[in-house]
Symmetry: C2
Subunit: 647 residues, 2 copies
């Protein structure tokens, strides 16, 4: 019986051997991976067949339903509007009125930040929300002017035309930038270039927005201190210097006292609103209350005569057409297109980030490309109706959500409310002190500086934090564009750096398993004597890292063969390259492998490849590398280790 | 007995379960990976301790041996020189004379290509080989002027100063570029920036050199046709147009007949040399023979009086000092530094590529950083002694190897031979026809156009071929610099593209194993019902690809849950993300994973992570993601699949 057991064992052994051989054949005889042309062709074919399917599914319908389907695709409101109920409307009405009360003072403030007349901010809170409401796919986003984009516009466009010297020319440029930003945004959506928005990493956005918030706050010193002549630069040093110079001059503290006391009032209501969730509306309407109260105070005391700066005339009435103001023969047209591109990306980043986060709370999916098209069209039409760049606002969207909005109807309510204000109430804004607008803007900033998130980034990823802090200081000490540039450059350097200087790790066997893992990650892993198992921490073995990897492996193998005193231990007979995470190699990578094989051979060592992926094994076969290493290609590291005995 | 077996099975099952649990703990309780600061500090400490070790090993020695060790490090010739034998010298002498005979006509030709006087080519074949011989680590490289660098210099510098109008100023600029190129090369070596050379991928070099060879050949039309006024542009269209214009003018065919017949002679000897390996020296000396023969013919027939262009006066004598010609107050200094950088990289690329390939044939390792320093010092000292940029030549190194060189002494022999020629034989070059020099250069070009390699690249990697062909057409139709730029941009776009648009694959179980592999690579792999196993083909889950990956996975899961008619199959309960090839994630990646988890949860599906690597599991723990997915982190996919029953 014992002998029969042994025989069974033997036959099992043989069986295992055959199986292992067969598995090696699985690796070597894998079907050819799709070629590049094939992949491209397939992708085109898929898109076409999808279009065809869509068309054929439409063909069965009558002309009316066809039109309706198309309309529903472009204007999602037609789809969800049919299920709209009175209950939903009650909620949306409340939310819309709440965001309108926050929006009016903010819009005027942001327009000032963008060096535009106050009414442009209000215009931008009328048309864009209405357009977005019929085209957008988010349910919570509140559209309108936002702080970061306003700052970006003013800081980039005032380099071309000084808004103080030529306000009309400046406004024309802003409208033109808005048009181009809209065109870029719509094309991103149309050509499915949504990934461009991803180029600003989460960490970079946190740093950039934080820096921008401080810069915006500093810009408000002008309004808060009632300064007439202020620096046009945005970096912290220029601004603080300009403010310091003003403090030395005789100045009127009334502006500051008025602004500062209402700032404290707004911040207190915000604090109360946060503590008691039911009182959140208090925080939302406090800016409007402040504006009304301060206007009444100034009107009653005629404080404007004793130095308190006021908004004065705000042009009322509906959005005028601005098509005739879009001048394409502008001498700065090249610059305008460039600014349009930067603004388009930044605006989309804010809107999509905020839309996505609320969509994931409510558990639905936001279509990035559709969103880009909606925001793009919103801005294109906005540029025809005296609006500057609008996008989804962080602060107002949060208020909209907290106020219980159900659909984009809240945007319609807000737009109509602002429209009514524009028509009938602008005259009442005459005596509104500018210091209050500064307070309203400053009060919105703390939400943009996310220190908790920055700390989390620091804890999780130091290089990410570098991008974050780079963007922050870039915005703060240089300019908004440089901050953006720094962020993008640091983010991409990281990708390139990891590609050109990948780490390498030695693997050992986990006890009781046939798994091979990094010996540092798993200290219990045991190295196999005489065998060196190496894995490269990169998805690509390519021109940029192949020689580095080759030299590193040879150095390791040489070091491993010697003991501490430099005497040869001479034990390593087999070097196994675990290629399980290599997605692809290029010709330089294969050349490096060939040189590695030659060098190892000349030292009497053998090279084996374990677990090559599809593209890798295909290229190793085509370039005859598999033949050169006598077919030592295995499905797993364990099987490769098994070949040591044959060596 | 049966019951006892069952019990054994049970206890084994339990044992396995415990082990699996333990393994999960291995994953979760891995030691913390070294932080970024730690890695940087370790690398610095290692370098310092290495320096210290070197110093302490030197400290034990006497002052003389210390100095000797240092000298040996800087001048390897002192190390290998002590083993030098007469047998070796006989071989080196023969090889040195062979490459000298090839070098003299080539040097004069390349100097003409660089728009310099012929003697500068000879100067560059004297000092650089001597310096490199005492400092270099290769044994085969033949140093001197090369075609591609000569073309690069002339095409970039003539944009600053026209060599026809101001030859002295032009030569000064060339010497200054040589100095800066040398400084850059030496610093690359000193600061271990060898990877900069890798930025030109193998494929790009093949395309670039091929294109440059054709451009160089076209430039020789001037000499071959005996044209006096030729275009200064290098692109194929301008050159062909200029040549065509000349053909229409009355022209003297004698130049062409002379040049073309000797070109055929050289190519024939080359062909014979390739067929019969023993006659290879015939190919090597045929250029010199051609020069001598044609010079004699012109001298005897006085053909120069009937329109055959001749070299005329070549300044003889030793290399003059050129230190006083290095003018740092040059108005073009910024441009010169830039050209120096480009030339430095291209020259190093050629030299290291050729050195490496012969080192790997002879089975020794070339120290890239040491090589860069040697070439750098060679060029720095060259710029003081009227030499322009020298580097390892493809063609002469191959001849040196074929002639049986043993050490760099062959370079010394060559240098001394050229020195003697300069001193005594330059007057004999007076009647050498320029058409012959053109023939010599043209005859060296076919070796630079490597169609076999280009075809191999095409077969192995289509994107690599794109870089190759981009560089080729860039050089051919635009300019040398644009060709280089195209090559680098295409090569890096590939890395970025793979990072921002990684593929994803579904895994299935290989029959008879517990391995999970790509179902397309291994058609025999079987998908597990109710489970979707996904792997991302990227080493990084980062800002640039996280949203793309998240959307792709959700789309797949949704599609997989529906049958062809769009009805819900609703079977997928568990989505396993195999992160075995993810080297790192950043905060955007973690945010995407969190959103993925939320979305899957809201559809009643669970997310599990299999085989996370060191950095990944660390970050998932720090960001509390592991807690969010209830600790569903496993060592292998198989164990993750096992958790389905618990779901």
């Amino acid at each position: 019986m014992a002998s029969s057991m042994m025989e069974t064992c033997k036959s099992e052994d043989m069986h295992v051997d055959i199986e292992k051989n067969q598995r090696s054949q699985w690796v070597l005889n894998a079907p050819e991976p799709p070629s590049l042309c094939r992949v491209v062709a397939d992708s085109v074919r898929k898109t076409i067949s999808q279009c065809r399917q869509n068309i054929s599914s439409l063909r069965d319908q009558t002309c009316t339903t066809l039109l309706l389907s198309l309309l529903k695709l472009v204007f999602p409101i037609l789809a969800w509007g049919s299920n709209y109920t009175a209950t939903k409307f009650r909620k949306d009405l409340l939310a819309g009125l709440t965001i309108a009360s926050l929006c009016i003072p903010q819009s005027i403030g942001y327009a000032t930040l963008a060096h535009l007349d106050p009414q442009y901010g209000l215009y931008t809170s009328v048309v864009p929300p209405l357009i977005y409401a019929v085209m957008g796919t988010s349910r919570e986003i509140a559209i309108g002017p936002v702080a970061v984009v306003s700052l970006l516009l003013s800081s980039m466009i005032q380099k071309l035309i000084d808004p103080a010297a030529d306000p009309v020319g400046y406004t024309k440029l802003v409208l033109l930038v808005t048009l181009f930003a809209g065109i870029f945004q719509a094309s991103f959506g149309l050509f499915r270039l949504g990934f461009l928005v991803d180029f600003l990493s989460h960490a970079a956005i946190v740093g950039f927005v934080g820096g921008a918030a401080i810069v915006i706050g500093l810009q408000q010193l002008k309004g808060l201190l009632g300064i007439t002549h202020f620096t046009t630069k945005t970096d912290i040093i220029s601004v603080l210097k300009a403010a310091w110079d003003q403090v030395h001059n005789p100045w009127n503290p009334r502006n500051f006292i008025l602004g500062f006391s209402f700032l404290i009032f707004i911040l207190t209501t915000r604090f109360v609103g946060k503590k008691k969730k039911k009182l959140f509306w208090l925080a939302s309407i406090s800016p409007l209350v402040s504006v009304i109260l301060s206007t009444v105070i100034v009107f009653l005391t005629r404080a404007d005569k004793s130095g308190v700066k006021i908004v004065k005339h705000v042009k009322g009435g509906l959005n005028p057409s601005s098509i005739h103001q879009l001048d394409f023969n502008n001498p700065y047209i090249g610059e305008v297109v460039k600014i349009g591109l930067v603004v388009a990306v930044v605006a989309l980043t804010e809107s999509i980030a905020v839309g996505r986060s609320f969509a994931s709370i409510k558990g639905y999916q936001l279509d990035g490309n559709k969103e880009m098209m909606s925001i793009g069209f919103t801005n294109i039409i906005g540029s025809f109706t005296s609006c500057y760049v609008a996008t989804g606002s962080f602060s107002r969207t949060a208020v909209n959500y907290a106020a219980g909005c159900e659909t984009l109807v809240s945007n319609i309510v807000m737009g109509v409310t602002v429209l009514i204000s524009l028509q009938f109430l602008t005259k009442l804004l005459y005596y509104t002190p500018t210091a209050i607008l500064a307070s309203v803007i400053i009060s919105a900033l703390p939400g943009l500086i996310d220190i908790t998130e920055a700390y989390k980034i620091w804890k999780v990823d130091k290089l990410d934090f570098l991008a974050c802090i780079g963007a922050f200081f870039g915005v703060l000490f240089a300019s908004v564009e440089i901050g953006l540039l720094v962020a993008v450059v640091i983010s991409f350097s990281k990708i390139i750096l990891i590609s050109i200087r990948p780490g390498t790790e030695t693997l050992g066997q986990l006890p009781g398993t046939d798994l091979f893992c990094d010996v540092y990650q798993y200290p219990m892993a045991v190295k196999i004597p005489g065998v060196m198992i190496i894995r490269v921490k990169s998805a690509l073995l390519c021109f940029a890292n192949a020689n580095f990897v080759r030299e590193r492996i040879i150095k390791w193998v040489t070091e491993e063969s010697k003991d501490d005193k430099g005497n040869s231990k001479g034990t390593i007979q087999l070097v196994i390259l675990d290629t399980s995470n290599l997605v692809n190699v290029d010709t330089s990578g294969i050349a490096a492998l060939e040189e590695l094989h030659k060098t190892l051979s000349s030292h009497g060592k053998q090279l084996a490849i374990a677990n090559p992926r599809w593209q890798v094994i295909h290229k190793l076969k085509v370039s005859k590398f598999v033949d050169k290493i006598d077919g030592r290609v295995f499905l797993t590291v364990e099987e490769a280790v098994g070949c040591k005995s044959e060596c």
